[in-house]
Symmetry: C2
Subunit: 435 residues, 2 copies
């Protein structure tokens, strides 16, 4: 089921790095129509789509305070405790990412600074379905709140009875989100991008979704609404040596496989012995788990690659740029210095991906499809802008002015030069030299 | 020429916030063809386009070391000095933006960290034409070098003689860039996104350009190459009171106007007296400057808006989200706390936009078209990823494990649960409890 490749030549690498090809056929025109209809008809369009796609008639698109409050009692004490611990860790790690304002006097009288300012309005999309992604609510809403976003809007589809899963509402409440709307799919993305009477327009949209949601996010991002990052199927890469317990690797493979049929798991090792043990271990655990068919589809494009030397292994790992990277080696901590491209890294035998997916404190919204070459996962920066400021005194401008004049002149921008010249001349006659 | 609007009602604001409409007609198919041709024919396509669009036959696409060295003598001593001072300030301010690695033990045995890792390969695009944008070379290459990018690639079109403007080569040399290729337009963007025999593929592309370049950046960004930010015409907003010298405002308006016919300048003030003085002052300086016709086109969609109260003024300014914001008021420094959306802010009478465009140390690649609601200007972060790490000890996992199990179960992800269960059970029997 899982192919084991030994010592591939570099010319074979691109093929081995290929992700599963997602079926992205022809949703763009459907999505463009949905977005156009929501822009035109607003709330009425959202109600029509809720009836058509979610099978529910909605009077109020907004979740009421009563509904949010009632959710608490519908969530088990176990889950409430778990959410509390996860929220606490996520809060602690993301709070530590806050940037202090930076001020540098680059030369006398020329002060540059950089300050973090929260994005005013953010929109979080949480898919519906049988597996309510309350963990994603925590991962997106907690940093938004820490950043200081003024409005945190959450859209998620209702079920046939017009209700939202209580775990989602509870997680939203814990994270401090109270603007929740019953809308899903491309129509929810359109509502947050353009606003309706009920749903406010936001500046940036976050969150996972099916290909309609992804296409809608892409579409609105080319207009004026920012999005978190490009989306693709989830993936894990495990770098392991003979010190690794094969059962840990097998269950990590299966964790990834249950994300969906397009998910990909990769084991890189220099140990042929370890590689040879994996298929049996996976088979053994596969028998204990539900969703076997889907997992087998995912495993069919997962790979085990044995490298002759560790340098080649790391070159491959960094070129692949995995969303999740598990380093299950004796010297795992040391090896982290080799990581150049990855979303989030799990160090040592007792750091399964599951820990970061839920509760260690790191974010689980991460770059896939090799976007880790250039993108970070969601972090506190995702919810802020870093605005720069400069304050020149009259003396500062007189020190810097000649430089600006010469450069402007050489770029043929004579008004740029003039704006400096006028100021320098007047400052000579300005006894107060106000600044 | 410039319209003065007094006390507009909030319903009029959206119209007043409109940017000039850029003619973006039908370049997408042209650009898609160019990109496809470069992917197919590589260097041969780049040579064909250089001949067709730039009028030059190129043997070597890469600028030689000799060409770079010769450029120094062709740049005036004045300009070399100016570039040195600007580079020094840019270097100082961007170096200060370096992030220290962050490590947080969120609970005993659960350590999360975040480290900045440079993007391996970045591509900088510098347009050709009569105004060589050597300042943009400094703004992009200096932070790339500080970030530690391994390959910094620069593409810019050659002139009819197959040469690059010496100021561009000299600025590149000062900034530490030595991989320079003679290619412009959409074809240069395609070359950097997909690679040719000569031009290396990069992970992220930065830089300004005409609408073919913008469209090409947008196109490749939906594949696998990141880009700096969406592009639009440049703009400045000036907030001023009666303390402001009208000549400073007039020359700031004209500086913006000479960026191009689509540029926009806005003056917001609570002083009708100040507003009334602006048109004459602009006319006076306009007569001293070249490019009058283009500047008049730009000024035709520039605006002066008088507000009855300062609160409304700041609401408008933040909703407009200017690329450049000049605060030319008596209490300018205090007012900066009101800034929520802007690219870069210029504080006080002696801080013209020209200073930041060239030499104060802040970056001049900034979000336009209201993207300052959600985007930062280029800064050191633009050249790095922030990768997260987590290291759980066996004890750490035993503290956190139950939380992960409960959450995974409630999201119906049973393999995620199993990956934790297997580890927790084995750790009980692992006397070394390796971590």
């Amino acid at each position: 089921m899982i192919s084991i490749v030994s010592n591939p030549s570099r010319s074979e690498w691109p093929t081995l790095m290929q992700r599963a090809i997602t079926d992205m056929k022809a949703v763009d025109t459907v999505v463009a129509d949905i977005v156009a209809e929501v822009r035109r008809d607003g709330d009425a369009a959202l109600r029509r789509y809720a009836e058509r796609f979610d099978g529910c008639r909605l009077d109020d698109l907004r979740v009421s305070t009563a509904e949010i409050d009632e959710a608490t009692a519908l969530v088990s004490a176990d889950l409430r405790d778990a959410i509390a611990m996860a929220a606490d860790n996520i809060c602690r790690f993301h709070s530590a990412q806050q940037m202090k304002p930076l001020t540098v006097e680059v030369m006398p009288g020329v002060v540059c600074s950089q300050r973090a300012v929260a994005i005013d309005r953010v929109g979080l999309y949480i898919p519906g379905g049988n597996s309510p992604l309350f963990s994603t609510v925590l991962m997106l809403a907690i940093p938004a709140r820490i950043a200081g976003c003024r409005r945190i809007v959450l859209c998620t589809p209702a079920d046939r009875q017009g209700r939202i899963n209580p775990a989602i509402l509870y997680a939203a409440k814990v994270a401090g989100v109270n603007e929740i709307y019953k809308s899903g799919g491309a129509q929810a993305i359109a509502a947050m991008a353009y606003g309706t009477d009920t749903v406010p327009r936001v500046d940036k949209i976050f969150g996972p979704g099916n290909r309609f949601v992804m296409e809608a996010k892409k579409l609105v991002s080319s207009d004026h609404t920012a999005i978190d990052m490009p989306a693709g199927p989830s993936e894990v890469m495990i770098v392991a040596d003979d010190s690794a317990d094969i059962d840990f690797i097998a269950t990590d493979f299966l964790s990834q496989a249950e994300h969906g049929p397009d998910s990909q798991s990769m084991l890189l090792t220099t140990s042929p012995q370890l590689a040879a043990k994996l298929p049996d271990a996976i088979e053994r655990y596969l028998q204990q788990l539900p969703r076997r068919e889907m997992m087998e589809r995912s495993l069919s494009h997962s790979r085990v690659i044995v490298f002759a030397d560790i340098e080649a292994l790391w070159d491959f790992a960094n070129e692949y740029a995995p969303e999740h990277l598990i380093i299950n080696c004796a010297d795992a901590e040391t090896m982290t210095s080799r990581v150049r491209n990855a979303g989030s890294v799990f160090i040592g035998p007792y750091s399964p991906e599951s820990a970061g997916d839920y509760a260690s404190g790191t974010n689980h919204t991460l770059p896939t499809s090799a976007f880790a070459h250039s993108y970070s996962g969601v972090n506190l920066d995702s919810f802020i802008k870093k605005i720069t400021f400069q304050h020149l005194t009259a003396d500062g401008l007189s020190s810097l002015g000649r430089t600006v004049q010469v450069m402007a002149e050489n770029e043929s921008l004579m008004a740029h030069r003039l704006a400096v010249t006028v100021r320098m001349e007047k400052s000579l006659n300005d006894p107060t030299k106000q600044s």
